[in-house]
């Protein structure tokens, strides 16, 4: 009897010790749970919000940004336009690989400053070859270099998008205007889409993005350039906070050589349609059947 009592006491002590050790081990989570509000935790999927509910969420996110980043921003949720389907084309004969587009993307989309993230990755390629294995993104000399051409790669907004297919929770989908978007508040951060994308178009927020208050672009969209939470996947959205307001994407405006052509595929008068109809256009990795909306062409 006394033996079992002693045993039980020991067990109790062990259990208490174990519980205390567990609490100690999990202590770093207090910071994490403090950042996580109840509303955020229970937030619905983007598609289930009515306009009124969305407005509440947008205000909450604006307040959160101001609290955490010290900048008043406006977060909007512009729906797609009727009769609009976006397409993008890039003239490889003209691109000089100056990475101005990547820089514009970095600033426009409030990317993490430390990592120098951008949705556009530019490969310096060898003339006469489309083999990316012979290209490199790590060039840092005057451009254009002799014997090279430059291949900027960003999200191709595929019509048969592998990333959309694989998402287990429908946190990423294709909008009516052709843009593939992510609901950053629904993404569980499994990164299956990142593995599925053949174009290295997706990025993960490995940490909470750092942007100085005065560098934040305050014109933000829920599905595009608002400052992303830690632990979710993000991607190029053809700057939908701009393009759905009729404006050109930031990367196009920044291009010093005019290599980029953007527009409405459904408008026969649009520059993008002219390129598709008059230039010899190709897409990357066509054999994968992803049906990109991002086209490349050469002048000569």
């Amino acid at each position: 009897m006394s033996d079992t009592t002693r045993r039980n006491l020991l067990k109790g002590a062990g259990a208490t010790l174990g519980a205390a050790a567990f609490a100690q081990a999990m202590a770093p989570l207090t910071k994490w749970t403090a950042d996580l509000s109840f509303d955020e935790f229970l937030q619905k999927h983007y598609k289930e919000f009515t306009r009124e509910e969305m407005a509440v969420v947008l205000r909450r996110l604006e307040e959160k940004t101001e609290r955490e980043y010290g900048r008043k921003v406006s977060i909007q949720d512009l729906p797609p336009q009727e009769g609009v389907s976006f397409g993008y084309a890039l003239n490889l004969s003209i691109c000089i690989g100056c990475r101005k587009c990547a820089e514009a993307c970095h600033q426009e989309n409030n990317h993490d400053r430390r990592t120098g993230n951008s949705y556009i990755r530019i490969l310096e390629m060898e003339q006469g070859s489309l083999d990316m294995e012979r290209g490199t993104a790590f060039y840092d000399h005057d451009v254009p270099a002799p014997g090279k051409y430059y291949l900027p790669v960003q999200c191709h907004q595929c019509d048969n998008a592998p990333c959309v297919k694989v998402c287990p929770v429908q946190a990423t989908w294709k909008e009516q205007d052709g843009v593939v978007v992510v609901d950053y508040n629904w993404c569980i951060g499994c990164r299956y889409c990142e593995a599925a994308c053949p174009y290295h178009a997706r990025r993960f927020n490995w940490t909470k993005p750092e942007v100085p208050a005065d560098e934040i672009n305050p014109d933000q969209g829920y599905l595009s350039n608002r400052i992303r939470p830690q632990g979710v996947v993000e991607k190029c959205t053809f700057c939908l906070h701009r393009t759905r307001a009729g404006r050109l994407p930031a990367c196009l405006e920044a291009c010093p050589t005019g290599a980029r052509v953007f527009g409405n595929l459904l408008d026969p008068q649009s520059p993008i349609r002219w390129v598709l109809e008059n230039k010899r256009v190709f897409v990357l990795k066509e054999e994968l059947g992803t049906l990109p909306r991002f086209f490349y062409f050469f002048d000569k």
Partner: protein
């Protein structure tokens, strides 16, 4: 007998055996304390990773999956491999195997929990896991292979929990299990075991942008390697059980499992060779990852030591298993099992997940090395899995062998149970 009465009685039974599991020798306590300590280190590392972000891992946008997914993949194989005990026991009526099949099923349970934990720690937002619940979240089924994996893994977990729980409970009550309540589930679990590993392979092989994975041979390879690791683990486990519990376990299961392994190690090597031939002889994009994996490419050699270790281990285990000595000396067999286990762990983990990302889809060479955080979490999860398995086996065996049975067993069953030794834990339980 009403269902609700059974439900409560069953829960009480679970509580009792769990309480019972807290009793043990000093060896048991030491083992559990060590595992607990490792698991806590892992838990702490995970908490930090969650707070500071996945930046603490070695993963990047180029190599977006690493050690966690590698271990997940391996764990699924371990779970599926347990079916190699079920098939002989239930399909070929191997009596001796039948007696220990439960060990395999418990291993499956522990392995699936291990897999789920590895997925959990790989997620950027584990608190959003409810988005995966059909009807509540938005379950992208049937389009996403990952949702299939969620279904099959949880299904397999439930199947095995049910079969183990039901058989143990019946044994506890000293009643003959009714076939209709477990046999269909056992047979279902055989197909299910194949499906969990096929679906896990399809996760990777369905990605057109990753030539290294985009191979129809991936699922067969997964199955073959699963039938190496499962039996290898069980062979060693059965010996440990016999040693520590004195339970009379015949040589039969070990012989059967060894025979299975003799075939599967060769099959696995053959399929690996086929993959290598196809990739290297063809050349081009498909050869890139293989070249990097085995020989290094563009000045990067991070995986070369890993994969050659795996090759040496796998070939070594195949040779050992086919030596007559493996039949005479159990240490040779055990060495072969350990080699096979580690070999497949590398081949299916670091040797399979990482080369899928190197070179990247834009053919960039960005290497991956797991960080200390990743190793801590990985070790923690394995320790937790082993704890689970230890407890499960520890409580299941006395029930299974009839040493521990319900005090009311005699009323519940017409045939009198003969030697019902009550463990002291069982007596006290109703008060708790």
């Amino acid at each position: 007998m009403s269902a609700s009465r059974h439900l409560f009685a069953y829960l009480r039974f679970l509580g009792r055996i769990l309480w019972m599991s807290t009793d043990g020798s000093w060896r048991f306590y030491t083992w559990m304390v060590v595992l607990t300590a490792i698991a806590l280190v892992g838990a702490n590392a995970w908490a930090q990773q969650l707070a500071q972000g996945m930046v603490l891992t070695g993963m990047s946008d180029h190599v977006s999956w690493g050690l966690y997914v590698a271990n997940f993949t391996f764990g699924v194989g371990l779970a599926a491999g347990a079916v190699m005990m079920v098939i002989p026991a239930y399909l070929y009526h191997d009596k001796e195997m039948h007696d220990v099949t439960l060990v395999g099923e418990l291993l499956a349970v522990a392995a699936i929990v291990l897999c789920l934990l590895f997925i959990m720690v790989d997620m950027g937002h584990p608190e959003r896991a409810w988005h995966l619940i059909p009807g509540v979240g938005r379950f992208n089924w049937p389009v996403s292979m990952l949702t299939w994996d969620v279904v099959v893994l949880n299904g397999y977990l439930l199947l095995n929990l049910h079969v183990c729980g039901y058989l143990l409970y019946m044994r506890f009550l000293r009643r003959k299990p009714r076939k209709r309540w477990y046999l269909p589930f056992v047979f279902l679990s055989i197909f299910w075991a194949i499906s969990i590993h096929s679906v896990t392979a399809f996760l990777y092989s369905g990605l057109g942008g990753r030539p290294f994975w985009n191979s129809a041979l991936l699922a067969p390879r997964f199955i073959a390697s699963a039938f190496i690791t499962g039996p290898a683990f069980v062979i060693v486990l059965l010996q440990l059980i016999r040693r520590f519990t004195g339970l009379p376990i015949g040589e039969g299961p070990q012989r059967t499992l060894t025979s299975v392994m003799r075939v599967t190690v060769l099959l696995n090597l053959f399929m690996l060779g086929s993959e290598l031939f196809t990739a290297l002889y063809t050349g081009g994009a498909h050869a890139g990852p293989v070249r990097y994996l085995f020989f290094g490419a563009h000045g990067h050699h991070g995986l070369v030591p890993w994969i050659w270790t795996a090759v040496v281990f796998n070939v070594g285990s195949a040779l050992l298993l086919h030596l007559p000595a493996s039949r005479r000396h159990v240490w040779v067999l055990n060495l072969a099992c350990v080699l096979a286990f580690v070999g497949v762990w590398i081949e299916k983990g670091m040797g399979l997940i990482i080369p899928g990302f190197v070179p990247s889809t834009l053919h960039e060479m960005v290497e991956y090395t797991p960080t200390l955080t990743e190793w801590k979490i990985t070790a923690g999860i394995w320790a937790f899995g082993l704890m689970l398995l230890t407890v499960a086996v520890k409580v299941a065996l006395p029930v299974l062998s009839g040493r521990y049975a319900s005090p009311h067993a005699r009323e519940a069953e017409a045939a009198p149970g003969s030697s019902s030794q009550e463990s002291p834990g069982g007596e006290r339980q109703p008060a708790a």
